[in-house]
Point group: C2
């Protein structure tokens, strides 16, 4: 399949690599063009603009940071829409607004192309290993056309409804992890201050009701007070804001997710926005000491 | 082993049953005496007071609701201390204050007995099935004497330090689950309001970074808005208050756990204190509707 990949960040670059390894004809484009080079070495063609990357492609994979970036890449000058072939399927792995996604899908449909929203969970490890969980929204036939792309980058692919449903599912994911990261961090801070033996404690906690992916995969960051990526605080903050917008639109008030968003604002203001979300433990720890 | 079991609530009654089934000679006592009857049918002796239950026992298992109840059962009129044999080991499966536990241990030691704090995780299902995770604090020789009791009621037994260390570990557990229950509930409320297909969504979320015991075991309660035990909101609220007290003593500020405590106060004020902690989803749901 001829696939364009636009957006070669922490998530997009390994996705492009998996597509090349799966035997697809890949063309890449990134705003900072140097990021195309390692993929070019692996066999990808390079394109000067999103429109040039999309020209001739049967599928376009986008992976950018936020809703305005996606709109720019799709519909801006030199954007995907300018190069789009009829019946091309655009697979967007960014995490963006569910409502905006439904709007973008309608605009692409007017141009004879489909949009599949396919935000992922599993962090940079999942992207590297090709084991991402993918939350999929879109028309059934678009999803079928997107399937070779989805299968190259992820392990669990769940089609949850029309355009925007994948993004809504990702919003739910980001809400759920918000409280978990925050209070796993608070618990680790308490355990350390109390002098409990951490490896034995974490193992015991993991076997019971406190068991979680966050505890199993991020408690060690918190213990060491060292927060390599993973998944950036600033991006999670952006995603929680999207979820809170949708919740407000639906008349819901998600109080604890909002409390975590405020904690993340505090972290970002202190310069920790590029650390992993597990850096939420900094807040509980920093106040520490008798 | 001759074992007295004092406190036959949701957790204590199945613990007594497991001890009988493991072949121990069990004597039971409960403030509301009728609760002794089903265990008497299974072969347990009944005692009129904690002191009478403790007389002749090599081990005493206590499982009550709060620190003052435990102090009353141990040191009040007709309490365990009045009947205690030399070298008896008291195993306390209640969730109570770590600091008070260290104090009670010293007072029992003065009477020639040991105290092992052994709060559990795993809820009523874990108690019924004998698969509880047990967080253990106490002197090593007391823990060894307590082991036949611990092995009868739980599956994973972790000795974490001196008296109070088990309670501190349980406090950490209760902090960690606080945020998880709260935002899993908020996420389910958002997913339902948005009309996502819940079984497929929950399965997909469970495979990624949002995976947790709470999601796997309590999301269905939240979906159905029906909150059978499990573990009571009012007891979790009490446990989080204990954790926040210890955190304050250590100079820590656990902001998200505290936000969840306030939500639980709201639930309790509305008459939902006897429901499972998953009832936290009520708050996000109730505000719902466009």
């Amino acid at each position: 399949m001829r696939v364009a990949v636009i957006g070669l960040g922490t998530m997009g670059a390994p996705m492009a690599r998996h597509l090349i390894e799966a035997g697809h004809e890949v063309t890449v484009h990134n705003r900072t063009r140097e990021r195309e080079l390692p993929l070019s070495v692996l066999g990808a063609a390079r394109a000067e603009t999103p429109a040039a990357a999309a020209a001739g492609a049967e599928g376009v994979l986008t992976c950018v940071s936020d809703t305005p970036d996606l709109e720019q890449i799709l519909f801006g000058t030199g954007g995907v829409a300018e190069g789009l072939e009829l019946n091309c399927v655009v697979v967007d792995c960014s995490t963006v607004s569910p409502s905006a996604t439904a709007d973008f899908a309608a605009r692409l449909r007017d141009r004879g192309a489909g949009l599949v929203d396919a935000p992922v969970s599993g962090g940079s490890e999942g992207a590297e290993q090709g084991t991402l969980t993918i939350f999929v929204g879109g028309e059934a036939d678009d999803v079928e056309r997107a399937r070779p792309i989805l299968e190259a980058i992820g392990k669990r692919i769940t089609h949850l409804g029309p355009s925007g449903a994948g993004q809504m599912a990702k919003a739910v994911n980001q809400v759920m992890i918000a409280g978990t990261y925050a209070t796993v961090g608070e618990g680790i801070a308490l355990a350390q201050a109390a002098g409990l033996p951490l490896p034995a404690l974490i193992e015991a906690l993991s076997a019971g009701a406190a068991g979680s992916w966050v505890l199993s995969n991020r408690a060690q960051n918190m213990v060491e007070d060292h927060y390599p990526l993973g998944f950036k605080v600033a991006l999670h903050r952006k995603d929680v804001a999207i979820a809170l917008d949708e919740a407000r639109r639906l008349g819901l008030d998600l109080g604890v997710a909002e409390a975590v968003l405020h904690e993340e604002d505090e972290l970002i203001a202190e310069g920790h926005g590029d650390e992993d979300v597990s850096a939420l433990a900094r807040l509980a720890k920093r106040r520490g000491g008798p």
